[in-house]
Symmetry: C2
Subunit: 281 residues, 2 copies
DNA sequence: AACTGTGAAAACTTTCACAGCA
DNA sequence: TGCTGTGAAAGTTTTCACAGTT
């Protein structure tokens, strides 16, 4: 790896230990960061690993171990400096410079994300919003006009986004992804459950809302099993009857964009991640 | 928790091996399930571990190992029966009976979720939708009227939901959670980044969309570091300037109900808290 | 006394490679 | 032959316990 002169103010991140930070730790850093931001707002100056751990919902030992990968950040016998630690984590996560985000798919989910204060607050700026629905194009969402997806390629050059978010129907997700990749976007967050095919240098992260619900369902089932099959409140109501409706129903779409029909190809895309390493759950 | 008589036959799911299935495996089962549903729709009868693995974005060995925890599901030399495997996974995940879902917070995100076809398709039925905004109460979303959150307690008894979803602004999340817990809900999915306090018998799962973005950011930073700090496309645009605005700004809310939050996925920004033990990804 | 940072042990997960079956 | 199921090895993450610092 090319070495680099040490600019006092390095471009992307400060100390450069990224390579050695475990995946699992990185995932938690973002959580610590949120807690620290709250503490900072409350003008809390110092926090102990125990306090921070409780607020983040992890064990204090794990938290200390996590932070130790970023180098020494605390003072023994005292605790961590809230501001300093926050800045350090932001730096490591590459958030220091902020990110410019374009979003494709201005349906309900897309609009919800654009309006999500948490993004702005955490350094993500929405700079472009695209859709292919003529009824939506031109209308502003949170002050940002919806632009025609046909302009996407040009707009990417102009807006120079660091991250793109896909919230289109499943059927369009791959096409949009291709478009973004061709335009030079390196980081994509997709809310479509279909696995997107992209070159290895492009980081694709997929998020599937239904998966979360299914994980909850599993816990519920396990608890019920362990406790002897009482489902408490739920026991009263009618079971829902999952497979009553045809699986493939393009079904009741009631809102502008969101919904989808199952359209993935039989053995199509693989979830891609950078460097040949697929980032898996 | 009160212990109970041990019913030999558990009502919720067939073979009852839940206890022995590793966390990591469970998280992936939901993904396999989605792929299998697509295959079933396409009338594919048999699938090999390799095909399924590619479509799900994992290695075939891992996939076979995962499935082996559910007992024998395939035929050596042939592959897996799509329908049979799908049903088996649904059973293990506790999806066979379907789930009744109430959602509190009819903002953009809430409405997006109600309209999200993926839920219905996978056995989750929205049965109730609540908000405290008089302007929203009474208006239908996807055929479901928004009800006053004041009715929530009574409605839970009446609707007997198995799962509740919280998509309210952060400030209300805990109050709504308390309300749900008091009403007897056992499973809660929250899209607010704040850690919710709930009794140990209640399964709370939190999802924070910003975490996903931050993980992407980290990969970007790491890649840039490894490649010699060029940020390609992004290099052109102005840095965003994260901390320019006050951190605590309740900030520009531009859509009906208030802020909203979004999703994540197995590994990243997801957390499950339960039975006093915080289960980490 | 209070709290961080960390080596070393334990637990969990992934990968490998092959036995076993249709 | 082709593909599943699995034990054992390799790798990763968590937990423990305590040495070190203020």
């Amino acid at each position: 790896m090319t070495e680099q002169h040490e600019t006092p103010n390095s471009g992307v991140s400060g100390k450069a230990l990224q390579k050695d930070i475990p995946q699992a730790t990185v995932a938690r850093l973002a959580t610590y960061l949120r807690v620290l931001a709250v503490l900072a707002d409350d003008a809390v100056a110092i926090v102990s690993s125990e306090e921070l751990a409780v607020a983040a919902g992890v064990g204090s030992a794990k938290l200390r171990k996590d932070l130790s990968f970023l180098g020494p950040n605390g003072v023994r016998g005292v605790g961590y400096d809230v501001i300093k630690l926050r800045d350090r984590i932001e730096d490591v996560l590459g958030l220091s410079e902020g990110h410019r985000v374009v979003l494709v798919g201005a349906g309900n989910l897309g609009r919800a994300l654009v309006g999500y204060g948490g993004f702005r607050r955490r350094g993500f700026a929405m700079v472009g919003l695209f859709d292919n629905d003529p009824a939506l194009i031109g209308t502003p969402v949170c002050g940002l006009p919806v632009r025609d997806v046909a302009e996407l390629t040009g707009a990417v050059a102009e807006l120079a986004p660091t991250i793109a978010v896909i919230t289109t129907p499943d059927a369009h997700a791959q096409a949009v992804c291709d478009l973004l990749v061709a335009a030079g976007v390196l980081c994509i967050l997709s809310f479509s459950p279909v696995a997107l095919d992209a070159p290895p240098h492009v980081e694709v992260r997929r998020v599937d809302l239904a998966v979360e619900m299914q994980l909850l369902s599993f816990e519920l089932a396990r608890n019920a099993e362990a406790a002897g099959e009482t489902v408490s409140v739920a026991a009263a109501g009618d079971p829902v009857g999952v497979r009553t409706a045809p699986r493939n129903a393009a079904a009741m779409n009631c809102t502008p964009i969101t919904t989808s029909h199952a359209a993935a190809r039989p053995s199509g895309g693989t979830e891609t991640a950078s460097k040949g390493a697929v980032v898996q759950p």
